[in-house]
Symmetry: C2
Subunit: 220 residues, 2 copies
């Protein structure tokens, strides 16, 4: 899903036309190496080799290794950020909208080809090149916060409760690391249930069905 | 708290007597450097320098950098592992015992001098030198699982629910990284509340008071 854009689409031949594929090949190779061998242990040379490219082609798309990290991490928040904006603006019970956001977001983190959420704790995430990722992740967390508040959590408790909700969503990365064979769909459903339990709502079949309908409307 | 053992205690002079301090000095220096600059970016030479020791002294205690990581991570699970065994064997409502374990465990991870939980996602945690840490962390998680089951979660749901509970507990490391100035005590209390909410129990003042009494009995 993550690498879907453009795959299989017919292209004009020539160096310029191959560039979008080269960019995606770098991201795929880096995602595998960063989550496997580790970020620090992976050189841009190893990424270029795995991607079947010359290093010059890699540098054309990504001047620094941190730019590759930034592009990979952007993929882990942007789709959820778009959805979150629509869910915050949608009508309906806040717990339904919160369940829907958590379901989609845990699904993105848990179902992506590589376990990129495991990179969130890298010290490099604090560097200047990653400022945009940090801002987008903070925006996503703020959207969770608006839904947590709308679900009836007391104003003075919203900040910490949102930390817990966001922490539970992102914890799918640790679960995936510990058990690469896990049943992602079951974890996504139970994770979304857990998120609404954290705001004091016991999830029902009706709530889940309503959330799925809302997701189908907003993303269909 | 983590570095408390032996500090300020009078010692005999001489190289042999200084060894316990040297070991702790290495761990303090490594905790700071691993969580700051990053594990991969930190050399044993830098650790020895920061600790005010010769590299030979460092190698006497820790033959490899991974041995330092193993010793640091052991500190993050062993106290909770001991407590968990006592809580599993104690009487009283499971939700009270689960709240008590989460409260102590989040307190340990959230209140330790360095944010060592941020190292759990390092690829090196999968290596042979870290086998004992992995086993102890799995034991701790299994204790959470017994309390989750005892709290009345359906048998087929216990494994995933325990993943969520354990994920929420460990997520304090991400919260600390994002906000180094956080109110640890408030997060610990809210985190323990969140853990029992994940098993379907709304925490009351009575539950919290009972858990504190139990902790005082078991650890006093």
């Amino acid at each position: 899903m993550v690498k879907g854009a453009g795959v299989g689409r017919p292209r004009a031949s020539g160096a310029a036309a191959s560039r979008p594929d080269a960019r995606q090949a770098v991201l795929d190779a880096a995602g595998e190496l960063f989550t496997g061998a580790g970020y620090a242990a992976t050189t841009t040379r190893a990424i270029a080799e795995r991607a079947g490219l010359r290093q010059a082609s890699l540098y054309y798309h990504f001047p620094a290794k941190e730019d590759i990290l930034a592009a990979l991490l952007a993929e882990t928040v942007r789709p959820s950020l778009d959805l979150a904006a629509r869910l915050v603006g949608a009508s309906g019970p806040a717990a339904v909208r919160l369940w829907a956001l958590a379901y989609a977001d845990i699904g993105l983190l848990g179902g992506a080809r590589h376990n990129l959420g495991a990179l969130y704790l890298l010290p490099e995430v604090g560097s200047a090149n990653l400022a945009r990722f940090r801002a987008e992740r903070a925006d996503l967390k703020a959207s969770y916060g608006r839904l947590v508040a709308a679900a009836g959590v007391a104003p003075e408790a919203v900040a910490i409760r949102t930390d817990l909700v966001f922490g539970l969503v992102e914890s799918i990365a640790v679960v995936r690391r510990d058990d690469p064979e896990l049943d992602v769909e079951a974890h996504v459903r139970e994770g979304a249930d857990g998120v609404v339990r954290l705001v004091g709502v016991e999830p029902s079949e009706e709530l889940r069905a309503e959330a799925h309908t809302l997701l189908a409307t907003l993303t269909g």
